[in-house]
């Protein structure tokens, strides 16, 4: 087992880059060059471990690995690659003294990368910039070096040019990391302070956390105190990843490793937690801890009502591994029993839903995503509303507050107008516009989260042919003229279709939804009015006319069996229908109505 490593030889860094700019490939090269992984065992893109991440090519859970390079110890700290996990990125960066900024030399810097670089600069981290993929014919390193110099103020002659694929320039990059990124400081004799910057749940070992020791020493067997939760835990094992898990006796200042301390639930080992020793405690926690708050909400229901208990178990298990998901039981007249779930963002929502379906074999239906509104009532009360159908009627409401985002969009200058149009129709307010180069522009908007939640990413992507990139951060709340639109079938509100929108868009939403439902709802024995209403006021109306004919009018001769089976099928179908008042609706109609594109 290794002992404590002298801080002077340690270099802690993350690679900041956009999806597909080559972070995984570069990580693989580094592992090979440092003999951390036998080239024959080299599984491409070693550090991304979860299936879904692999498929989507994004990193959700940070992993970190220690390698030896010349006389130095490099600790590569992986960061989550999506804006939904911004807080986790900031904690990972808090564990580093520097970053490698990796930019595709045929694409240039993207919005999220830029945002993360700003974050690194705020943390006073050293930035080693590298343009990747210089082997590509389309690479234009000169141009993008100019751009990086311009937006980040990094001298262009310090920007390295590499190919993670061929390995060209990677040795120089590692040498530059050693030369430029400062070693960590810290005294091994001080009271222990370690930053917990990632946790995941392992079914055999319980919670495994990634820690960075800031001061003092973390010893195997010690009793630890978690300063934010106040809980104590005994160290079962500390170790490092090479990337295999290797147990060590202790971790000294500046060292990064893993900690196993008999914890059953990642909610008790939150990212950002400060860990100290009970016997020799520090009193002041490290800075920057936040309790990540869900921003996006939706109802999740099993398609088969009998699977409700399975869904509850699945959410419980999932939560062991992802403490940022929240869930509470809710019932819907349309969809039955389910849960209102909260997520860090849209991608997070999609990932959770996909994991529930894939890992737990459930078939689910999700309502349209919503945000959390603050309703100020006429009686002075304040209500937090994350399910639109729970919003009180207009006569009880004084005003409604909604969450805002600060949106940074980077894109080709030719799409400036397109992007501005999109933001404008989404109630955006422009804060800043800057040309990064003659043909790339940065736009900063303040925009209601609710306008982003539905399909903003998709629309932005398709309108800019995929060339625009986007980053966001929460930016407080605003009051606007918001209303709840209910959808009524034969006079009965259908909770799953209620929504909260700006008054100016309410009629349009109402028209679209009623028209959509008219196509989907089968004709009944009576006329079914479909109405969209704000409070008592109808803003759109359609009618599903009563059906006039439903009869086997054909002659099947003596084939009574066939007649009977057709009827049985119809009866079966009726049983599976959901009733809204007297109206019978097949579940599929709900699913289509909730999943149809605008």
């Amino acid at each position: 087992m290794e002992g404590v490593v002298a801080p002077e030889v340690i270099r802690n860094f993350s690679i900041i880059s956009h999806v597909d700019h080559g972070k995984s490939t570069l990580s693989d090269r580094i592992l090979e060059l440092t003999y951390a992984v036998d080239p024959r065992e080299m599984r491409a893109q070693y550090l991304d471990s979860m299936d879904i991440e692999r498929e989507r090519g994004i990193t959700i859970k940070a992993q970190n690995v220690r390698v030896h390079w010349r006389d130095y110890v490099l600790q590569l700290i992986d960061t989550p690659g999506h804006v939904d996990f911004g807080y986790e990125v900031s904690r990972s960066l808090a564990a580093c003294e520097g970053v490698v900024l990796l930019v595709d030399a045929s694409q240039g810097i993207e919005a999220q990368t830029l945002a993360n670089c700003y974050l690194a600069l705020e943390h006073d981290l050293e930035i080693v910039a590298a343009l990747n993929k210089i082997d590509l014919p389309a690479a234009d390193p000169d141009r993008y070096a100019d751009e990086i110099e311009r937006v980040l103020g990094l001298p262009r002659d310090q920007i390295l040019r590499i190919s993670a694929k061929t390995g060209a320039g990677v040795v120089e990059l590692l040498d530059e990391v050693v030369r430029r990124i400062p070693p960590p400081k810290g005294d091994p004799q001080d009271p222990l302070r370690a930053l917990l910057f990632d946790s995941y749940y392992d079914q055999y070992r319980g919670v495994v956390s990634a820690v960075r020791v800031v001061d003092g020493t973390m010893r195997s067997g010690a009793r630890l105190r978690f300063l934010q939760t106040g809980a104590t835990h005994d160290v079962e094992e500390v170790g490092i990843r090479t990337p295999a898990m290797v147990e060590v006796d202790e971790l000294g200042p500046g060292e990064v490793g893993y900690l196993i301390a008999g914890i059953k639930d990642v909610g008790e080992a939150r990212v950002g937690e400060t860990v100290t020793e009970v016997a020799h405690p520090a009193t002041k926690p490290l800075e920057g801890y936040q309790n990540p708050k869900p921003m996006v909400f939706c109802g999740i229901y099993p398609i088969d009502g009998d699977e409700f208990p399975d869904l509850r178990d699945a959410l419980e298990k999932l939560k062991l591994n992802d403490s940022s998901v929240t869930y509470e039981p809710e019932t819907s007249a349309a969809l039955g029993f389910g849960f209102r779930c909260g997520f860090l963002g849209l991608l997070h929502m999609e990932i959770v839903r996909e994991r529930l379906e894939r890992e737990f074999g459930l078939s689910l239906i999700a309502t349209a995503p919503s945000v959390e509104y603050i309703a100020h009532l006429t009686n002075g009360g304040i209500l937090q509303v994350d399910n639109p159908s729970a919003m009180p009627e207009p006569q009880f409401i004084d005003h409604i507050e909604e969450p805002l985002l600060k949106l940074t969009i980077l894109g080709p200058a030719e799409y400036t107008g397109t992007i501005m149009d999109l933001c404008q129709t989404r109630r955006g307010r422009m804060q800043k516009m800057e040309y990064l180069s003659s043909d790339r522009v940065e736009l900063i908007y303040e925009l209601p989260l609710a306008e982003v939640v539905l399909d903003f990413f998709d629309v932005l992507k398709s309108r800019t042919k995929g060339y625009a990139s986007l980053d966001y951060e929460p930016a407080g709340t605003q009051t606007d003229n918001l209303v709840k639109v209910d959808v009524l079938l034969a006079g009965q509100p259908v909770d799953a279709f209620s929504t909260i929108v700006h008054r100016s868009k309410a009629d349009d939403y109402g028209r679209k939804m009623t028209a959509k439902l008219r196509e989907l709802i089968p004709r009944q024995l009576f006329d079914v009015p479909i109405q969209a209403a704000i409070g008592g006021r109808i803003v759109a109306r359609e009618t599903v006319k009563a059906k006039r004919k439903d009869v086997l009018a054909k002659c099947y001769g003596g084939d009574i069996t066939r007649k009977r089976k057709l009827l049985e099928k119809q009866k079966e179908g009726k049983k599976r229908m959901k009733s809204i008042g007297r109206v019978e609706i097949p579940q599929e109609a709900f699913i289509s109505a909730l999943t149809l594109e605008e």
């Binding site: 024995l525 006319k545 059906k547 006039r548 004919k549 439903d550 009869v551 086997l552 009018a553 054909k554 002659c555 001769g557 003596g558 084939d559 009574i560 069996t561 007649k563 009977r564 009827l567 119809q570 009866k571 009726k574 007297r582």
Partner: protein
């Protein structure tokens, strides 16, 4: 093979399937073939063999006989007579043959009549030429008066005209003209069957969604038909059937009363001794099976008591006889769809068009007083829905 058990003393129906047609109509999903006429002799032989085995195992005489298809009039007259001669019949048996107008001649009908045929069912479908074309029928409207004239000349105790409504290209006026044209034929038919055109999977019509019928249009045409026919003295007695009193098709009524019948020929369905079964679909396979002394039966089902009871209600509810009140619990959804009278429930005009909705709500009455499950004879099931 042992299909039929000894006669249970009920009325027995006998159906003979003739799977030949001159060409296939666009909407047709029946078990019928074009260009297999050369099999007529072998096919008749096979039917005779099936029939004689049935008699060997005790089948009784038929109260009704029905030659359906396909197009029975496409079978040479002497072959049909050869078949009918072998059928044991009750004294006043109803014997129907389905004919296409263009096949009908005085000569053919006389052959039928002397062999004991009492009733002709004529496949007119429409009197509007463009509707016939759109249905893919080969006859012209002009053949109809001639065929009906021949029926009158030869003299049958009853005859019926089959109509189809709701084809694309048909207008309400076409439909009224067809109904009135049919009613003013000489002699006028005492019985009319009118079916809503339906796009069945596998047909030419199915593959052409442009031509699929519209429910609302068909509902209107049905209402027209009911009005015109009723006014002419032909009230409805089953959803798709209207007749002058006394001219109901007894053979079909037997189906709707869950009665017993033997189906002879390919794809023919039987119901005997509480068992429903049906023969292989293709004529060649049918001929081969019978020739090899094997059973031509392709499938069967035997319902338990509750299901039989429900089935009897589902059949009865479509007729003017209706069902017992207890079979249809009060339900506000049924308002306007059924009329309650004494202890019977009968479909209204609107209810006939929505008969499936009504049928879905049928409940077999509780089994009070019916002893052990499954031990009840089928005729008991019938007794619970007996006609008044």
């Amino acid at each position: 093979m042992g299909e039929p058990g000894p006669s249970s003393g009920q009325q027995l129906g006998l159906y003979v399937h003739i799977p030949f047609c001159a060409r296939r109509c666009d909407y047709c999903a029946f078990a019928t073939w074009v260009g297999l006429h050369h099999l007529a002799g072998d096919y008749t032989d096979a039917c005779l063999a099936q029939l004689s085995r049935a008699y060997d195992s005790g089948l009784g005489p038929a109260a009704t006989v029905f030659f359906g298809g396909g197009t029975p009039s496409q079978l040479p007259g002497d072959e049909l007579v050869r078949l009918l001669d072998a059928v044991r019949r009750e004294e006043a048996a109803e014997v129907t043959v389905e004919c296409n107008p263009e096949d009908v001649t005085v000569e053919l009908l006389s052959t039928y009549a002397s062999a004991g045929v009492t009733r002709i069912s004529l496949g007119v479908q429409s009197l509007a030429p463009q509707v016939l074309t759109s249905l893919g029928r080969r006859h012209r409207p002009e053949t109809v008066p001639r065929a009906v004239g021949a029926i009158g000349e030869v003299g049958f105790s009853s005859f019926s005209v089959d109509l189809i409504y709701g084809a694309r290209g048909e207008t309400d006026e076409d439909w009224v003209d067809t109904l009135e044209g049919v009613l003013s034929l000489d002699p006028p038919p005492p019985h009319v069957s009118a079916y809503a055109l339906q796009a069945e999977p596998g047909t030419a019509l199915w593959r052409d969604p442009e031509r699929h019928p519209d429910d609302d249009v068909q509902a209107r045409r049905y209402e027209i038909a009911d009005e015109v026919l009723e006014a002419a003295g032909l009230p409805w007695y089953e959803i798709s059937n209207w007749s002058r009193p006394g001219h109901e098709c007894r053979h079909n009524q037997n189906y709707w009363r869950q009665g017993e019948y033997l189906g002879v020929g390919c794809a023919a369905h039987s119901h005997l001794g509480g068992r429903r079964f049906w023969n292989v679909r293709a004529p060649e396979r049918y001929i081969a099976a019978v020739a090899a002394d094997q059973s031509p039966v392709a499938g069967e089902e035997r319902l338990d008591f509750d299901h039989r009871l429900l089935e009897s209600l589902e059949l009865a509810v479509r007729t003017r006889e209706g069902v017992d009140s207890s079979a249809l619990p009060d339900d506000e959804m049924l308002t306007g769809l059924v009329a309650r009278d004494d202890d019977r429930v009968v479909l209204t005009l609107r209810g006939r068009l929505l008969a499936n909705e009504v049928a879905c709500r049928l409940r077999a009455p509780a089994r009070v007083g019916f002893g052990g499950a499954g031990a009840i004879a089928p005729d008991l099931a019938r007794a619970t829905v007996s006609r008044n």
